[in-house]
């Protein structure tokens, strides 16, 4: 029914697109000339100003702002981990993995189950349960790629996105079946009880769990960086991300790298969910929200860059926290999506380096 319009213009189109996306940029106006990070910084600064003004009207002083800022870096760290998961998968496979949210949910849910099986008490049991949960999630993620996306690798991007949507729906449904609709409870890592220890630093009240979030986030990202820079496999993955065809020609098993990328995304998602779980009571449907926001953060950071995803996550977390401090409760989620649209509009030709498909 549809006829693909094949014209002589086709090859030229990709060339033009490639040149426009990468540069040289002299012919573009100054605002467009700035790189994606600079632009993100600009948007963020503008938003910050607005939020500061709103806060002043509520009588917020530096103490309140600091509190909101600190709270924001905690959620921001979680968003960052999820965002990196999106970025890694996208770089290596070109797929936007809607199932990422499911990995974020499975991490804590599995941890709670394993923890209970190991007796339900003690830091050692919890740590073991967490590690097992991360491993299982990573394995599941790889299986997802191997059995659903790999066979469909020639399909259009939209088709593959819908496949990941189907996977997400299945996994969420499975979680509902296994764990039921009620939220699970995970003890805070420091006290190994429901109630967490509170720290007061310079007028800012902090949950001890926040330290875990920052610490785990930093360690995970650094480990990932070391992996990409230092190991052969890591470098091979980067090669796939830059140019699939060339990588294949060099003898790199591109499809296996794709599966591995999913495994990494599973690890990142699971860790993000586990470290957040004591304060949010993991539930079968927690993945949707976190997945979407992590995705927004990934876009903010350019979707293809790991440090960009981290930056995007932190920026989103902080800005969202400040926004939540000045707005009516229900509008909190609005921020991430308004930011998404602003970011997309500020660079309509896309944030992707060309030569990807």
């Amino acid at each position: 029914m549809t006829t693909r319009v094949r014209s002589a213009a086709e090859p030229a189109t990709t060339e033009v697109a490639a040149r426009t996306a990468r540069g040289p940029r002299e012919h573009l106006p100054a605002a467009r000339r700035a790189g994606p990070r600079a632009r993100l910084g600009g948007v963020a600064a503008f938003v910050l100003l607005g939020l500061w003004l709103l806060g002043r009207r509520l009588g917020y002083g530096p103490g309140e702002y600091l509190q909101l800022l600190v709270d924001g870096t905690v959620t921001g760290a979680v968003y960052a981990l999820v965002a990196v998961g999106f970025a890694v998968v996208y770089r290596v496979t070109g797929v936007i993995n809607f199932a990422q949210g499911a990995f974020v949910m499975l991490g804590p849910m599995l941890t709670v189950s394993f923890f209970r099986a190991l007796g339900g008490a003690g830091a050692v049991a919890l740590a073991t349960a967490a590690l097992a949960a991360v491993a299982v999630t990573a394995g599941l993620a790889m299986a997802v790629h191997r059995f659903t996306l790999h066979p469909a690798r020639g399909a259009s991007a939209l088709t593959r996105i819908i496949i990941t949507v189907g996977v997400y729906i299945s996994l969420q449904g499975l979680a509902l079946r296994i764990w039921g609709p009620r939220p699970q409870v995970m003890p805070a890592f420091t006290t190994m009880q429901m109630a967490d220890r509170l720290l007061e630093v310079g007028g800012v009240v902090l949950q001890a769990q926040s330290l875990w979030v920052w610490g785990t986030g930093a360690v995970t990202v650094l480990a990932l960086a070391a992996f990409f820079e230092g190991t052969v496999v890591g470098k091979a993955m980067r090669a796939c991300a830059v140019n699939r065809t060339a990588a294949r020609l060099m003898g790199i098993p591109v499809d296996r790298m794709a599966t591995l990328a999913f495994g990494l995304a599973g690890v990142l998602g699971a860790v993000a969910g586990i470290v957040l779980a004591p304060s949010t009571r993991p539930t079968y449907d927690m993945g949707l929200d976190l997945g979407l926001k992590g995705f927004v953060a990934a876009i903010a950071g350019g979707l293809v860059s790991v440090p960009g995803a981290v930056a995007g996550g932190l920026v989103l977390g902080v800005l969202e926290s400040l926004w939540a401090g000045v707005t009516v409760a229900g509008f909190k989620d609005l921020f991430a999506f308004v930011m998404l649209i602003l970011l997309l509009l500020s660079r309509p030709q896309g944030w992707l380096e060309a030569g990807h498909e």
Partner: protein
């Protein structure tokens, strides 16, 4: 292209629909009983409603090649417009003589469609410059923003226009003159009249010069532009048309369900629409009713037959099977069920 041949198919479809409608009217529930609880009036009506939305979505995604992950937002805007301007008419200062007139909900429906279409046109001109999945994400963002605004009572809780999380209840039935277009068996004809009209509209567009321009657009925007197609405005117009169709469907839904709730129009419902479109066949107008019917039938099947209505609680297993089936269908029939009848091998297209 066979220019006039779609007319015969359409007439056949119209006749089939009329037959089903008359049967259900004469013997209410008969079809449902015969099919073991599958073809309920509820299912038939919802298939009709989604057909209207999907015709627009298929034109947008399948023909123009522009992804939309926020279509349920337009559906919701139409539904809420109809609900607010009838149930909350007094708050808005509309005189009762107008608000209770039989023609008022129809006027609201038309005006809402125009307004939503205009809104989509303006937004479209801005965001349709985006490519591929960036456009998809922008529509996703838009959809969620509309959902949140509807859920938060438009930010004005004292006016209580959208009813917050619980929405608006008590939307009146549609009437013509003094005659109420109810019960459900009668409303079937109203909804399917709209569905058949939208099918005719869609088929008309597809087989017209506009349709050819759309296909050119889908193939390559640059190439289309080089042969004189005004790419930007065409995309925006199709976006607006799809939004207007969704709005009409939403209004019809409001008068059917009588309870309009923001959760019906969020991110997941938008995904469900994309799923229906993909399952039926994005690049086909006939994929609209096919996709809607298949997905709704599948849900109904799972709900009533796999689990039984008594005594288990429905909904627990359903998403797992549904998601798995979606994955399988997308893996082996990415062109949708419509295309599998034409080509043996799946149609792979890269973007």
């Amino acid at each position: 292209m066979r220019q006039g041949s779609w007319g015969f198919r359409w007439l056949a479809a119209a006749a089939a629909v009329a037959a089903v409608g008359v049967w259900d009217l004469v013997q209410p529930g008969g079809l449902a009983r015969l099919s073991g609880g599958l073809f309920t009036s509820d299912l038939l009506i919802r298939t009709g409603l989604f057909t209207v939305v999907l015709v627009g979505l298929n034109l947008l995604m399948g023909y123009a090649g522009q992804a939309s992950l926020g279509q349920a937002a337009f559906y919701g805007m139409g539904a809420f417009a109809s609900a607010i301007f009838t149930v909350r008419a007094r708050v808005l200062g509309i005189p009762p003589a107008v608000a209770e007139a039989w023609w008022w909900p129809w006027v609201v429906m038309v005006l809402a469609a125009l307004a939503v279409g205009a809104f989509a046109l303006v937004v479209g001109l801005a965001i349709l410059r985006l490519r591929g999945h960036y456009l998809a994400m922008a529509t996703l963002g838009l959809g969620v923003i509309v959902y949140i605004v509807l859920r938060e009572n438009l930010g004005m809780p004292h006016l209580n226009l959208t009813g917050g999380f619980d929405g608006i209840v008590g939307v009146p039935r549609l009437r013509v003159g003094g005659v109420q277009l109810w019960p459900v068996q009668v409303y079937f004809f109203v909804v399917w009249a709209a569905a058949l009209a939208s099918l005719a509209l869609g088929l008309n567009v597809v087989h017209s010069p506009v349709g050819r321009a759309l296909r050119a657009l889908h193939g390559s925007e640059l190439a289309a532009e080089s042969v004189g197609v005004d790419v930007g405005s065409l995309k925006a117009k199709i976006f607006a048309l799809s939004a207007a169709l969704a709005s009409v469907a939403g209004s019809l839904y409001a008068h059917f369900q009588a309870a309009v709730v923001p959760d019906t129009f969020g991110f997941v419902p938008s995904l469900e629409l994309v799923v229906m479109s993909a399952v039926g066949g994005m690049s086909s107008i006939w994929g609209a009713p096919l996709g809607a019917l298949t997905v709704l039938l599948l849900e109904q099947l799972l709900r009533t037959h796999v689990l039984g209505l008594v005594p288990a609680v429905s909904g627990e297993l359903e998403p797992v099977v549904f998601g798995a089936m979606l994955v399988v269908i997308m893996m082996y029939w990415p062109g949708g069920l419509v295309s599998s009848r034409r080509t043996q091998a799946p149609v792979w297209t890269s973007r």
